[in-house]
């Protein structure tokens, strides 16, 4: 029995699918990280949105969502730092390779 109350959790389901599409098709890790956050937001909408009564929203899933948001930002921050570090290392490797290449030709 679909009701109007299902609108937000259904939006959440759409975000889960969209985000997963992003994770699979986007090749840049920072973009994947963004897509992961879209999936997370979708899950939160399902969790919180299905806790709505006619007059109120269940505080229990609300608290779980807040916990989830904080865990998500913690992991995203580490992921972003990791992406930068990988790029840095690859650049350093390229630079070394370039220096070695010139060294060989000289």
């Amino acid at each position: 029995m679909p009701t109007l109350m299902h609108l937000y959790p259904l939006t959440g389901a759409a975000l889960v699918g969209l985000g997963l599409y992003g994770i699979v098709t986007l090749r840049h890790p920072l973009r994947q990280l963004l897509a992961v956050n879209v999936v997370g937001a979708g899950i939160f909408l399902i969790l919180g949105g299905l806790g709505r009564g006619t007059a109120s929203t269940d505080p229990f899933p609300q608290a779980l969502v807040i916990t989830g948001i904080v865990v998500a930002v913690a992991l995203t921050a580490f992921g972003a730092a990791l992406v930068v570090r990988v790029a840095e290392e690859e650049r350093a490797r390229d630079d070394t390779a370039a220096v070695e290449a010139t060294g060989d030709s000289a």
Partner: protein
């Protein structure tokens, strides 16, 4: 709120998410993501979940958005143009199929459940025992205090994990500065930063205090504090500390530490995380103030990133 409002909001949420994922331009993607986060905040408001709305806008859109922008800058400085390599057509077609299937599956599972406020009643009945009126704070700091305790350690662990990425010659130097003041036109930013930091402190203190009875709490307050610190750092009013600064380390562990000590003290009275009757609110407020401080510092430093070597300031 009317149906039309809800419907348009949901369409915009899906639209901005799609734009954030499908656009080729990384900066545009991040901007769409931030708009998406703010629209989600509106959605939570429309669902009468003010606490979540604040957390979503402050953390989901705000902190995550700033983080993505800073990361993009750092990557561009390294010569990474953030262009996603083109994925083969068959993969995209397969992904469309699989993700549509997943959405349909999850969507029908969602439709098979009747939305209901199941636990709101039992929670409201127990709140007088705690002496607080905001049920979400009650769930976070009492009924599910164990989750929240573990979560603060995830946040602390994330900062340690970010720090662990420092290259050998950089540790324990401070992170790269976000200082715009050096590049001219910074005096306004500097004055703004000086002004905003105390304001953020006051605002954060208020949010914790109000959080017992009205929407708010340690996480929202910590985010405001982090925002103040970041803006002050951009203006040059605050310099990042070194990772081996012992005051800094003490601030970082203050919240998790107070939480854990109060939890362990409960064992003497019966059980882990047991608040003695009549003292529940005092304990919750003590935990929240120390948490807000630690969360603020941790989030700001997560944005600042790890130590950088002296020759490398980007």
């Amino acid at each position: 709120m009317t149906l039309a409002f809800d419907l348009i909001l949901c369409l915009m949420i899906v639209g901005t998410a799609a734009a954030a994922l499908l656009t080729h331009n990384a900066l545009a993607a991040i901007v769409f993501f931030i708009v998406f986060g703010n629209l989600l905040g509106l959605a939570w408001l429309a669902m009468n979940a003010v606490n979540v709305a604040m957390a979503e806008i402050a953390i989901g859109a705000g902190i995550t958005g700033v983080l993505l922008i800073l990361t993009r800058q750092r990557l561009m400085a390294l010569g990474d143009d953030l262009v996603s390599a083109e994925t083969p057509g068959w993969l995209r077609a397969g992904a469309v199929l699989a993700c549509t299937g997943l959405t349909a599956l999850v969507g029908s599972a969602v439709l098979s459940v009747a939305p209901a406020d199941d636990l709101g009643g039992p929670i409201a009945a127990l709140l007088p025992e705690l002496g607080i009126e905001n049920p979400v704070t009650g769930v976070l700091l009492a009924f599910r205090a164990y989750d929240t305790l573990l979560e603060t350690f995830v946040l602390l662990g994330a900062l340690v994990a970010v720090w662990s990425l420092a290259p050998g010659n950089a540790w324990p130097r401070p992170p790269a500065s976000l200082n715009l003041a050096e590049s001219g036109g910074g005096s306004v930013a500097q004055a703004f930063g000086r002004l905003l930091l105390p304001l953020a402190l006051v605002m954060a203190a208020y949010l914790v205090w109000a959080g017992s009875d009205f929407p708010g709490g340690a996480f929202q307050a910590g985010t405001v504090l982090a925002g103040g610190l970041i803006i002050a750092a951009i203006g040059g009013a605050v310099a990042w500390p070194r990772a081996d600064n012992s005051i800094l380390r003490a601030v970082l562990v203050l919240g998790p530490g107070v939480f854990l000590i109060i939890g362990l003290a409960g064992i003497a009275l019966g059980r882990f995380l047991f608040y003695p009757p009549g003292f529940a609110k005092a304990m919750i407020v003590a935990i929240e103030y120390s948490l807000a401080l630690s969360i603020g510092a941790t989030l700001a430093l997560l944005l600042a990133g790890r130590s950088v070597a002296p020759d490398h300031r980007s």
